[in-house]
């Protein structure tokens, strides 16, 4: 107990000298992964923008895309980004139960988003717009689908983190995982903003 303050200041000095603790390094490593993901999405966006006129006489985006469902999924994902942040806040206040509840809400909103996306894809396929229909629809499905895969992976990842926290409690390790997960989830929302803007809004305008 007497050592704690001394240890605390020692720890602080290390920070000031530019040393990172392992959790900070993990966070930076994950941040670098996100930047590589940005680069991957940039190639998919570039492909879509270049090929957006290539409908090969088939259905166009303006004809088939339904903006109403997209508005709902936008607000679902935006709200889930907010709730995942609130979960991290609860975690830093050591309120495990609240944190898990906010994470579950985040997951349910994400699942709702995913349901709407699958529903939309099935609707498009029913209308005759598939991955093979034209250059436009190929790039559309790959771009939007890649984001959807990210959301799906995020959902399973979050479930596994919750299970781990229930079993092990809040340790430095599990805390780091929740922090990294919320970063990932905010990132997915940021990508979706550009999907909404460049794919949907510019297509239906």
């Amino acid at each position: 107990m007497a050592q704690s303050p001394a240890h605390g200041s020692d720890h602080h000095d290390h920070h000031a000298a530019g040393h990172h603790d392992p959790q900070d390094l993990k966070l930076l490593g994950f941040w670098i992964f996100l930047v590589t993901d940005v680069i991957m999405f940039s190639t998919l966006f570039a492909t879509f923008i270049v090929l957006r006129g290539g409908t090969d006489g088939g259905p166009t985006g303006a004809e088939l895309l339904e903006i109403n469902g997209i508005i709902i999924s936008t607000f679902l994902l935006l709200t889930s980004s907010f709730t995942s942040g609130v979960a991290v806040l609860a975690m830093h206040q050591h309120k495990i139960k609240q944190m898990i509840i906010w994470l579950v809400i985040t997951g349910l909103l994400g699942a709702g988003f995913l349901y709407l996306e699958i529903h939309e894809f099935l609707h498009l396929i029913g209308e005759g717009a598939t991955l093979q229909t034209s250059a436009f629809w190929s790039s559309f499905f790959v771009l939007v689908g890649t984001h959807g895969v990210h959301v799906t992976v995020g959902l399973f990842w979050m479930i596994s983190i919750i299970i781990q926290i229930v079993r092990r409690g809040l340790t430095d390790d599990t805390k780091g995982k929740v922090t990294v997960f919320s970063l990932y989830w905010h990132f997915l929302d940021a990508v979706w903003i550009f999907l909404l803007s460049i794919v949907y809004l510019m297509e239906v305008m």
């Binding site: 530019g18 940039s42 907010f82």
Partner: protein, 114 residues
């Protein structure tokens, strides 16, 4: 021990800024407003084509910054900000790929017009 914990918590809260509920709510509200603006413009056909594209891109970029600052806390952390540096690097590559593709492929289609 309880005293120590409290002291540690408040100390940690000040130095390691994880954001507050207030900053999350502000970010959330700004994001909603920045989502509604382009929706209203597009759905009501309020502007010309170029102006609409400009509104969509400006609000999207602003909302991206809101996510970065209010939710992802890109301004926090210790110096040097490696996360910010890698992000700027990523955005540089992103702009090169996207703008470069549009530019080159646009020129190609001009060259192919008959």
């Amino acid at each position: 021990m309880a005293d120590h914990n409290n002291a540690h918590n408040s100390h940690g809260g000040e130095r390691h800024d994880h954001g507050s509920l207030k900053s999350y709510i502000i970010g959330y509200i700004i994001s909603i407003v920045l989502t509604i603006i382009p929706l209203v413009v597009v759905l009501n056909d309020m502007m010309g084509r170029t102006a609409t594209i400009a509104v969509i891109m400006v609000t999207a970029t602003l909302q991206f910054l809101v996510q970065l600052i209010f939710f992802m806390h890109v301004r926090d952390g210790e110096q040097p900000r490696w996360n910010l540096i890698t992000l700027i690097f990523g955005v540089l590559i992103l702009l090169t790929i996207v703008v470069g593709s549009i530019w080159i492929m646009g020129n190609n289609s001009i060259g192919m017009k008959m």
